[in-house]
């Protein structure tokens, strides 16, 4: 599924890595990863804790040096063009981090004041705008120390919004948020994407990002197992036809006759793997054979199921 694309031809990708590898002493944290995030995508970077997502993101941003491989952000080689590219990249890496004894506003002003692209005359407006966008304006003068984990997470997101961005790299942005906060972050990601930004969002909780993503990539034990448009990744999983009928054995016979595999019979139910067969043909065949169909459904595996089939163990912590 991961196509090999020459790294030179990747202008259309906001993120393109080639053979990205990071070894810490003996342990390979990230192994030969070819990550491709098309411009404009909301890319869900999924995988259990410890699967190498954060290490990959640290390499993308130039915080750590890859052991092997290279990568581009917004079409420019990193880390050589970090000074040109990173001002257009907002990032949240491994949780929020601010000065505890400064207020939220003072922390954002601090971040803005080290940015040589930032106009000091508009700092106040941009800082308050970012705080407003994450719902923290009312708590702007509270010390960071007094912030809850959810507020800290929002403040870190606000930090990425101080300047117009073409790419947002959000590492576990919903960590520590309650369901309502998680929903809000999802909406925010959607609105950022609507503004034209590419979003790379990592999570170890599938359900949290699944709904907003156009693309996903799945990491497991340092490897990128699969990536692509979400529909395409899902299609890899086998579709199964599920026939509800009071004559399941007759239905099963028809399914086998059509070439469906793994046909099973339960009470009032016949199930078979469709393969490339069009679902509507199955219904026609059943009706022609006089099998009374009271219900018919095509089941796609959930991404969760897909994970289990890809990783063999699902969403547990990788060792």
């Amino acid at each position: 599924m991961t196509e090999t694309i020459l790294i030179e031809d990747v202008g259309d990708f906001a993120v393109a890595t080639h053979g990205l590898t990071k070894r810490f002493h003996q342990q390979v944290a990230v192994n030969d990863v070819d990550l491709l995030v098309p411009r404009g995508a909301v890319y869900g970077f999924l995988g259990p804790n410890g699967s190498g997502k954060t290490t990959t993101i640290r390499m993308l941003l130039g915080l750590i040096r890859p052991t092997a491989g290279h990568h581009r952000l917004l079409g420019r080689a990193m880390p050589d063009y970090a000074g040109d590219v990173l001002p257009l990249v907002g990032s949240l890496v491994e949780g929020p981090a601010f000065h505890p004894y400064l207020s939220a506003r003072a922390n954002l002003v601090r971040l803005d004041s080290v940015d040589r692209h930032a106009d000091p005359r508009t700092t106040r407006v941009r800082v308050d705008g970012a705080l407003d966008r994450v719902g923290l304006l009312a708590a702007a003068d509270k010390k960071y120390r007094a912030y809850s984990l959810g507020m800290r997470q929002r403040l870190a997101i606000a930090g990425t919004l101080l300047a117009p961005r073409e790419l947002l790299v959000l590492d576990e942005p919903t960590n520590g948020l309650d369901p309502q906060g998680t929903r809000e972050v999802r909406h925010l990601i959607g609105s950022l994407a609507d503004d034209g930004a590419t979003v790379l969002v990592s999570s170890h909780l599938l359900s949290e990002v699944e709904q907003v993503c156009t693309h996903i990539g799945v990491m497991h034990v340092g490897r990128l197992l699969t990536q692509g448009p979400i529909a395409q990744v899902r299609a890899v999983g086998e579709r199964r036809a599920r026939v509800v009928t009071d004559r399941p054995h007759d239905a099963a016979r028809v399914l086998r006759g059509l070439g469906l595999t793994d046909v099973t019979v339960e009470s009032g139910l016949a199930i078979g793997t469709l393969g490339t067969m069009a679902a509507e043909k199955v219904v026609v065949a059943l009706v022609q054979d006089g099998v009374p169909v009271t219900g018919f459904a095509v089941e796609r595996p959930s991404l969760e199921d897909l994970f289990v089939s890809l990783t063999g163990e699902g969403f547990n912590v990788s060792g």
């Binding site: 640290r58 941003l61 130039g62 915080l63 750590i64 040096r65 970090a82 000074g83 040109d84 990173l86 001002p87 257009l88 990249v89 990032s91 890496v93 491994e94 949780g95 929020p96 981090a97 601010f98 000065h99 505890p100 004894y101 400064l102 601090r110 971040l111 004041s113 080290v114 940015d115 040589r116 692209h117 930032a118 106009d119 508009t122 407006v125 941009r126 308050d128 705008g129 970012a130 407003d132 966008r133 994450v134 719902g135 304006l137 009312a138 929002r154 930090g159 919004l161 300047a163 117009p164 073409e166 309502q180 809000e184 909406h187 925010l188 959607g190 609105s191 609507d194 503004d195 034209g196």
Partner: protein, 302 residues
């Protein structure tokens, strides 16, 4: 994205603020080649922090203590350090006496705390990764951090001097100052000499700060870096007092510090002062480069 809109949740509607709109390029946000914002931000962090303000308070206690104890006790000329004996003749000597006391531990400790915290402190709380992704180039980060440490060294030293001078002049008055060589100079010249001595020591402490900056790139524990600086400072004083190691003395970071008294000779004895400044400059250069070599391609995982 109205700043006045105090909506409780995340404002997810289409925004009209600067974050909105189509893709932008860095051309829309031109690079400011010369900017002191980062340095000013550093200084605000250092001098705005309660812990550091408390430290400055402690630094001020010594000159106050000296001035008051000398005032209430009967002066006994010929005993104690030179500057102490002279305090009653000119209050400015309180500043010099305070510096001579604090240069052994208090001022190095203050510089150690600030320099040890410079990089390790940011790494410890994780803000380092956010500085680097702004982006701040690593060389610039080290340059600004060192500039801030140097300014702190000078300010802390001047603070001790200032408190000493004010307290001394208030309790003992000013007037002509008798030099160590016996001649007298005017009050104006005396103030200038004290300022020179203070700046000299400030530069000396900044060289210790360079060592601290380097150590600060080795660890993510600011306290560990601070302790290491103090240990190096104390070790240097100890080695300096062992006669068998006399060949080493002139290379020790602290060896020329006490030479600050040479500005009180008439004329000023520049020999040791020059050696002291060169030694300080050497330590700054070597340890800043060491910090750079260490930090420029270090993996930032904290």
């Amino acid at each position: 994205m109205s700043a006045a809109d105090l909506s409780p949740g995340l404002n997810t509607g289409p925004s009209n603020g600067p974050n909105n709109g189509s893709l932008t390029s860095t051309a829309a946000r031109p690079l400011r080649h010369v900017s002191t914002r980062f340095l000013r931000s550093e200084l605000r962090l250092i001098f705005g922090r309660r812990r550091n303000q408390a430290g400055m308070g402690i630094l001020a206690v010594v000159p106050l203590m000296i001035a008051i104890t000398v005032k209430v006790s009967t002066p006994r000329p010929g005993r104690g350090p030179d500057f102490f004996a002279a305090i009653t003749s000119n209050g400015l000597f309180v500043a010099l006496a305070a510096l001579s006391i604090e240069l052994a531990l208090f001022l190095p400790l203050a510089v150690g705390a600030i320099s040890g915290d410079s990089v390790a402190g940011e790494a410890n709380i994780g803000t380092l990764r956010y500085l680097l992704t702004v982006p701040v180039r690593r060389t610039r980060l080290l340059a600004v951090k060192f500039a801030a440490v140097t300014i702190f060294s000078l300010v802390a030293t001047m603070w001790v001097s200032l408190v000493g001078a004010v307290a001394g002049l208030a309790l003992f008055g000013g007037g002509q100052m008798t030099m160590l060589s016996g001649t007298q100079i005017s009050m104006g010249s005396a103030v200038l000499r004290v300022v020179m001595a203070t700046l000299y020591l400030g530069v000396c402490f900044a060289s210790l700060g360079a060592i601290g900056l380097f150590i600060s790139t080795l660890t993510e524990q600011p306290i560990a870096a601070t302790i290491a600086v103090v240990v190096i400072n104390v070790m240097s004083f100890i080695l300096d007092s062992i006669p068998q190691l006399s060949w080493l003395h002139e290379w020790l970071p602290t060896h020329w510090w006490m030479s600050f008294g040479d500005v009180l000779r008439d004329p000023i004895a520049w020999g040791d002062l020059t050696r002291g400044l060169l030694t300080a400059a050497g330590y700054m250069l070597v340890f800043w480069l060491a910090a750079w070599a260490r930090f420029s391609d270090k993996d930032v995982t904290g």
